[in-house]
């Protein structure tokens, strides 16, 4: 069968910090096909965001120690910077979490979208002075076309009267419109793969639904492959075709959304589903998961969820945990699976209301921040 749009094979991404190397991604494999939305779900610090960023190696993504990332069969792991740069925004685009932050406050929205269009319409040469709109060096015609294309894009994404609004500044728009603008930027060059890192976390539920709808139409209209990262199972359930559950930098369970979320095999997936308010009646207490996510320093063998798992056995602590097929490409990485039936069946609520309490704070940057954040701070969220 032809190569999948995106193939990640046993990826290990690590960060050197003052107090040792952080194994943020500790052997992850996944694939994304064209016209398919694959979700990665997991708590903060599970490495889901680092996995997404490793694809394009954006903003100090850390070192890829092992494993391969292939896009349309082309291996990206040791691609040179310039090839990576050509792919960014062209075949792979990214959308980030907080629209208030991800748009540059001092440039108009139209300018930022037009810029994305310009990058990919020329032969890849970007002259600084041209982009700085310095009068003499400015390629006037290219910019006007880019602005027109930008208005079209904003229109496609249902941003109201884009011709007038495109000269507005980000702070003059609502969260939803801003995220649409970010989407417009991502779609400027008609990419094959869209990586969306918590795109709706900062939005209210109605806007969130609109954006997720928009993703699905994009998948259908443009055969777009989408990798959606979220900590919110409701978002994943509502949008994705397949889901990958990550914990402690490893994949715990993956498979079609319907199977995994209705018949979760992995104890962690079950715990995750149990503490999601969606699956609990109004009067029931939400069961919280005791303990803390694993310390990413130094990496570890065996199942990272061992200390917090109810079904833990000595085998879980060491050696590599087997991957068990338990349904049509529904895999579980657990030495005790398949578990007994009683705790497995959890009815999944259909409506997608999400209570405020349940929204997780934004996933912290696992990589070391500049001086302000102490090195081993990220584990204590």
């Amino acid at each position: 069968m032809t190569d999948p749009l995106l193939r990640i094979e046993d990826l290990h991404t690590q960060f050197g910090t003052d107090s040792g190397t952080v194994h943020a991604v500790d052997g992850v494999s996944l694939t994304v096909e064209r016209g398919e939305i694959v979700g990665i779900v997991g708590e903060s610090g599970s490495g889901k965001s680092v996995t997404a960023r490793s694809i394009l190696r954006v903003e100090d993504p850390g070192r890829i120690a092992a494993g391969t990332i292939a896009l349309d069969g082309v291996d990206l792991t040791d691609a040179t910077d310039s090839t990576l740069r050509r792919i960014r925004g062209d075949s792979v685009s990214m959308v980030f979490q907080d629209p208030a932050e991800t748009l540059n406050p001092v440039f108009s929205v139209g300018e930022q979208v037009a810029e994305a269009v310009r990058i990919h319409d020329t032969d890849g040469s970007q002259r600084l002075l041209d982009y700085l709109n310095v009068p003499l060096f400015r390629n006037r015609s290219a910019w006007t076309d880019a602005h027109e294309r930008a208005v079209e894009l904003m229109d496609q994404l249902d941003i109201p009267n884009p011709e007038h609004r495109s000269s507005g500044y980000p702070h003059e728009f609502s969260g939803g419109i801003r995220q649409r603008a970010v989407l417009a930027i991502a779609l400027a060059s008609d990419p094959d793969l869209l990586v969306a890192d918590e795109p709706t976390t900062a939005l209210d539920t109605t806007t969130q639904a609109e954006i997720l709808d928009r993703l699905r139409t994009l998948r259908d209209e443009r055969e777009l492959g989408i990798l959606l990262i979220s900590h919110d199972i409701g978002v994943i359930a509502q949008t994705c075709d397949r889901v990958i559950v990550m914990y402690g930098g490893k994949v715990m369970e993956s498979g079609p959304v319907t199977d995994v979320l209705t018949t979760p095999e992995h104890p962690y997936t079950r715990a995750l589903l149990a503490c999601s308010t969606r699956n609990v009646d109004a009067d029931e207490r939400v069961t919280a998961l005791e303990g803390r996510p694993p310390d990413p320093l130094g990496g570890h063998d065996g199942c990272p969820f061992a200390e917090r798992c109810d079904h833990v056995t000595p085998a879980c602590h060491n050696g590599d945990v087997p991957t068990i097929e338990c349904g049509e490409n529904h895999r579980v990485v657990c030495s005790e699976a398949p578990l007994s039936d009683d705790s497995a069946k959890i009815e999944r609520k259909t409506e997608t209301t999400m209570s405020a309490a349940e929204t997780q704070p934004s996933e912290p940057h696992t990589e070391v921040n500049r001086e302000k954040v102490a090195p081993n701070d990220e584990g204590t969220r």
Binding site: L56, V58, E59, R85, R86, I87, R88, G89, D90, S93, M94, F96, Q97, D98, E101, T102, L103, N104, P105, V106, F107, Q112, E115, A116, I119, H120, Q126, L128, Y131, L132, Y169, H171, V182, I185, A186, A188, N369, R370
Partner: protein, 304 residues
């Protein structure tokens, strides 16, 4: 702002009355090349210049003139103070603008370099270099520059005012002093900007690193830098006094120094008032530019 301007004028005019010594006698002695004036001459001089009137009357008369742009009459040369100021103002403004340009030209690249690769040798060098600039007494730096650039390298005139080449050394002397504060500010602003989320968006768009830094990050970093440049004006005017003496640029600085030593009070008051006014006006102008630069701040002044 008007209140402050009034305060400035009161302070300027009042300063002279607080100081000991009878201005009339000192000025007459000065005029006579050192001989002591006769008491009659002193009396005649006091009457002629209305020095016997009470402070309020003199102040009102002076302010009356100031409002119409007449800053009074110098005791020595018969040119009016305003005429002398108008003659010398361009030199000082020329120096101020040039030194600000030099400061920015040194500080912005230095700030960017040290922000783009923090804790590197370049970072320390940029900070170390700019701090040295501000730590050197500027007349010492001035003389060293003259010796090196003018005498040994022979590429600049020693002193005087004229074409651009007369402006370089004084601007370097004054500008290097201001560079430190601006470098530090650019560095912090750039670090914050480079950390912001919109940088990731820019990178994920496939923009070349240089454009990400010089367009997206720098544009945000420049907003606070503009305000600091306005506030640096006071540094320039402070330094101008000494630099103009060293480089023989007949600007407001030398005019003020000579007037002080010759006790030519009308000039002292006129120049000090003008410098105070320029200062207040620029602070106000800086506020305006700040708003225009950062669209997030609308005229009501609250940030989004």
């Amino acid at each position: 702002m008007a209140v402050v301007l009034l305060g400035v004028s009161l302070l300027t005019y009042g300063m002279i009355f607080v100081t000991p010594g009878d201005p009339a006698r000192t000025i007459l002695t000065q005029q006579m090349g050192g001989q002591t004036p006769t008491p009659a001459a002193v009396e005649q001089f006091r009457a002629a210049n209305g020095l016997d009137d009470p402070f309020v009357v003199q102040y009102a008369r002076w302010m009356g003139g100031v409002v119409q742009g007449d800053l009074g009459q110098s005791y020595y040369s018969d040119q009016s103070v305003s005429a002398m100021i108008v003659q010398r103002l361009p030199n000082t403004i020329e120096l101020a603008v040039a030194s600000m340009l030099v400061a920015v030209a040194i500080a912005v690249p230095a700030g960017i370099v040290s922000a783009v690769n923090p804790e590197s040798r370049a970072d320390y060098a940029a900070q170390f270099g700019s701090l040295v600039g501000v730590s050197m007494p500027n007349f010492w730096l001035g003389f060293l520059l003259i010796i090196v650039c003018s005498l040994w390298l022979g590429i600049f005139p020693v002193a005087g005012a004229g074409g651009v080449e007369y402006l370089v050394l004084p601007a370097l002397t004054l500008g290097s002093g201001m560079a430190a504060v601006i470098t530090r500010l650019v560095r912090t602003a750039m670090l914050d900007a480079l950390d912001a989320a919109y940088i990731q968006t820019a990178q994920s768009k496939g923009l070349r690193e240089r454009i990400v830094v010089y367009k997206h990050a720098l544009r945000n970093a420049l907003v606070p830098v503009v305000t600091i440049i306005g506030l640096q004006l006071s540094y320039v005017l402070n330094g101008a006094v000494v630099v103009e003496v060293v480089f023989q640029r007949p600007g407001l600085g030398t005019l003020l120094v000579d007037a002080i030593f010759a006790r030519d009070y009308p000039i002292v008051q006129g120049v000090t008032l003008l410098i105070g006014v320029i200062f207040v006006v620029t602070n106000f102008a800086v506020d305006l530019t700040y708003r225009r630069l950062d669209p997030r701040i609308d005229l009501k002044g609250d940030t989004a």
